[in-house]
């Protein structure tokens, strides 16, 4: 048996309890999620047999479950969430970690108490339309294109140069778009993290750290943003939350 204690996070708590069988169910019934306390701090974990595996694979299903467990804990506690895949071998190791880093855990839990993370990704739906718009509206790009067309130029280097101009124009356009998003939402957030755009079509990928009391207003602002003149057409909004503030601990 290849037993691991798989950890979800640390909470403020004085009593042990069970959150029930809401854990991963890769190889049978879902794992029971337990809270074990050590002088005012508690660790949320599950006892898992990994069988032949070295570690739990980071599949989408397992990641969603990790998130789901943390959400269930968030109903009654402020949780300092651990990232997926944090595991130890023995309960003594949990005790050691708690003892070594108690002050840090306490102050971080204090910092995130009453706050949530909201994540917003925005991307264009059809890139053809975006490129068409650049060809039409960007002065430099249009001048180059017209010049090539008017003189019937087929030179490869000239075409590469046109491609480069279009690429630059796209970067500028993305910057303009994210500025609109940030101007609107930053005033309502305590903190934010602008993350890498993971596709060509994406122009905003931002995690916001928001007070629970500001959450409704923040939702409203995201709604308004989706009605913004430059954002209402040809865009996809992926607005996720509230989740535990992984990006702000």
């Amino acid at each position: 048996m290849n037993r691991k204690l798989y950890l979800y996070g640390v909470v403020n708590a004085t009593e042990d309890k069970s959150f029930g069988p809401i854990g991963m169910s890769t190889d049978g019934p879902p794992n029971e999620i337990l809270l074990k306390t050590f002088e005012g701090l508690g660790v949320v974990f599950t006892d898992k047999d990994l069988g032949d595996e070295d570690e739990i694979p980071a599949t989408r299903k397992n990641l969603i479950n990790h998130q789901k467990v943390i959400e269930a804990v968030m109903v009654d506690h402020t949780i300092l969430p651990f990232s997926f895949g944090t595991a130890v071998d023995t309960e003594q190791q949990i005790v050691d970690v708690i003892n070594e880093r108690r002050d840090e855990f306490v102050s971080t839990i204090e910092k995130i108490d009453g706050k949530v993370e909201l994540s917003l990704k925005i991307m264009w739906e059809k890139m053809d339309a975006v490129f068409a718009n650049i060809l039409e509206e960007n002065i430099q790009v249009r001048a180059k294109k017209d010049y090539l067309a008017a003189n019937n130029i087929q030179d490869q280097n000239e075409k590469i140069e046109l491609g480069r101009l279009v690429e630059e124009a796209l970067v500028e356009k993305k910057e303009d778009m994210i500025d609109i998003v940030i101007d609107k939402l930053q005033p309502l957030a305590l903190d934010m993290k602008v993350q890498k755009n993971i596709t060509e079509a994406m122009f905003a990928n931002v995690a916001f750290f928001v007070s629970k009391s500001e959450e409704a207003q923040f939702d409203q602002a995201v709604n308004e943003l989706s009605e913004h003149e430059l954002l209402k057409d040809n865009t996809i909004f992926k607005y996720v939350g509230p989740i535990a503030p992984f990006n702000f601990i």
């Binding site: 980071a58 989408r60 890498k196 993971i198 596709t199």
Partner: protein, 80 residues
């Protein structure tokens, strides 16, 4: 004589070393954990936007996770 050897052998050496460089690059790319993580995120996004089916997603995810796990093993056995 060794001049002749050089002439005969050098292009082959050249090709071999070029092939090795290309292979190293491919391996680097294939087993670069950051790149794999990014591919995973892109894949998840595609699935969430209904651009691929769950079966396609699962198959591609399995391949990426296998490479991620392999890349971790390589890093452990060959830390830089």
């Amino acid at each position: 004589m060794f001049i002749l050897d050089d002439i005969i052998l050098s292009p082959i050496k050249g090709i071999f070393s070029l092939a090795k460089v290309i292979n190293d690059r491919v391996q680097e790319e294939l087993y670069n954990p950051e790149k794999i993580q990014e591919d995973l995120m892109q894949l998840q996004l595609k699935f969430e936007l209904d651009q691929i089916s769950e079966e396609e997603y699962d198959a591609l995810e399995e391949d990426l996770l296998a490479r991620l796990s392999e890349s971790k093993k390589r890093m452990r056995s060959n830390p830089e």
